[in-house]
Amino acid sequence: MQSIPATRTIKLEASYSAFWPQLGKWCGIAMLALIYFPLLWLVLLSASNDPLSGIPGPFSLRHYGSLLGNPQWHGPMAASLLIAAIIGLICAVTATVVGRAVARISKSGWVLVLFVLPLFVPGMSMGAALFIFIGAVLGLPLGFWSIALGHYIWAFPFSLLIMLVVTLRFDRSLIEAGKDLGASNWRVFCDIEFPLLMPGIVSAGLFGFLMSFNEIMRSIFLRGTSETMPVWSWIQAAAQQSQVPVIFALASIVLLISLPLLCGVFWLLFSRLNKV
């Protein structure tokens, strides 16, 4: 697991006819456009009078108004925010512990595979496995705690990978220098390691928060009767078409909050890391 070599600029395509790299480039740009265009369309439609017509405009904020007048989504939203905050916090702490350990031990390959295993298991299978384990084998009642557990298993590998970008680059001699100068283990961690690992810790926490906040596949199996925000949207969208404009408005708000947050994380990671 190496960090992303953002500075490498030696070129390969000199030996290729210019056509093929250009094709690759435009393939990607077209696909990125297909990923991001619907998001723009979603925001435009959410601010339109009749979102179900398919074409934006005439513009009005009346669906945002009816969203404000509708208290149904408050509960799921609060639950999602709380679960996401807890998962973010736990991810930040555990990813720091595991990330430091993995960078130190010699046979880290298998440990790493074990920790990123949930990435290889389809969400539906992992949800079903946890559901059977908790519900049928342990016989515990499902609820927010089991949703949180499912979210943690999903989010942790991402937090760990982003953490490893920082810990694998960390220069161990700094710690030895600190100890040679007479600092205690705790002081070395607080004054040397922690500040340098900070971008990774913050990113791991935010990754955990966002992965949890948007998770749906595992929540469906593990929710019992509890509802998180994506589950609520899903149920509303599936149940009645009349609810869709409200969901567009809600999804737009969530999008407009999480996109700048994500851009912030990436700015933090790429700009700070290149200086370390």
Binding site: R8, T9, G24, I35, A128, I132, F133
Partner: protein, 307 residues
């Protein structure tokens, strides 16, 4: 204290835990606790999932007696068709994804560009992982639907007289939705693998007189195969268990394994849920097993998992 805990762990006879305990002798106890808890909440449920698929259900109660009935019933009740459709859809999506994703990954990893530009592309590929799948998917209804953007454009330009119906609630829309949603899943692992290839190897290949095409097929492709393989497994796994896209864009016309899992879950038939979920995981393992000889052929002695 820590050493003792580690030795106790290794006592289980697990060779890799032994290896850890040796190297970990001075590491904190927290890591070991997390590792054990992780095995308990991730590995154990997956093992139980497989075990459960050998039980059956009678009168909404699970019968804990090992039998193959659930597995046999899985493919006799018309689900074979569903499994086949899911597999066909997942394979198609993965192949198209590879064709669209690998060239982009190659360009992104090896073309000359400013590091900030590359960082922006990587961020744009990563951000979709954190966005709500259902709102990203439901919006395609407004674009592909009868009164949607595409049909409006087609009608206005006079290309078609009536709205094109197969754009939404069809296998086309499910394929399309999945290909858009899973693109980063294919590109990012391939990108990582290609960017780790040393540029001197490419120059050496060129100096030795290889054509660009030979360099691609004999050097770049084999060396990036672990990443490609990871991309294929991630994409394939997500496509096999896809649930949001077929639900929202299939309009009930595209039945996949995920729908079967959901209906078995609603009917409290947990062994069927287990068997279907295990089946998806098994399909992935079979895929990996099939690709292993291919890797050997291309000159891999072992997968390099070590960092």
């Amino acid at each position: 204290m820590t050493t003792q805990t580690n030795l106790a762990e290794a006592g289980a006879g697990d060779s890799f835990l032994k290896g850890i305990s040796r190297t970990l002798s001075r590491t904190d106890i927290a890591f070991v606790v997390i590792l054990v808890a992780w095995i308990f909440i991730v590995v154990l449920p997956l093992v139980i999932l497989f075990a459960f698929s050998f039980f059956t259900t009678e009168y909404y109660e699970t019968v804990y007696k090992p039998t193959l009935d659930t597995w046999i019933g899985l493919f006799s009740s018309g689900r074979f068709e569903v499994a086949f459709r899911t597999l066909r859809l997942a394979l198609t999506v993965t192949l198209i994804e590879f064709a669209l994703g690998y060239p982009f990954a190659l360009w992104l990893a090896k073309a000359r560009m400013r590091s900030a530009t590359r960082a922006i592309y990587l961020a744009m590929l990563t951000i979709p992982f954190f966005l709500d799948t259902s709102s990203r998917t439901i919006i395609w209804r407004a674009i592909l639907g009868q009164a949607g953007l595409i049909n409006t454009i087609l009608m206005h330009t006079g290309l078609v007289a009536h709205p094109v119906e197969w754009l939404l609630y069809s296998e086309f829309s499910v394929h399309f939705g999945l290909i858009v949603a899973l693109y980063p899943t294919m590109v990012l692992p391939a990108y990582l693998a290609i960017s780790l290839i040393d540029d001197t190897l490419l120059e050496a290949s060129k100096d030795l007189g290889a054509t660009p095409r030979q360099t691609l097929t004999r050097v770049v492709l084999p060396l990036s195969l672990p990443g490609v393989l990871a991309g294929i497994v991630f994409t394939m796994g997500s496509a096999l268990a896809a649930w949001v896209e077929p639900g929202m864009l299939g309009g009930g016309f595209v039945n996949l394994l995920s729908n079967s899992i959901e209906s078995a879950y609603t009917a409290l038939r947990y062994p069927v849920v287990a068997a279907l979920s295990a089946f998806v995981i098994l399909l992935l393992l079979v895929l990996l097993a099939l690709m292993y000889p291919l890797m050997r052929m291309l000159g891999f002695s072992s997968l390099t998992l070590k960092s």
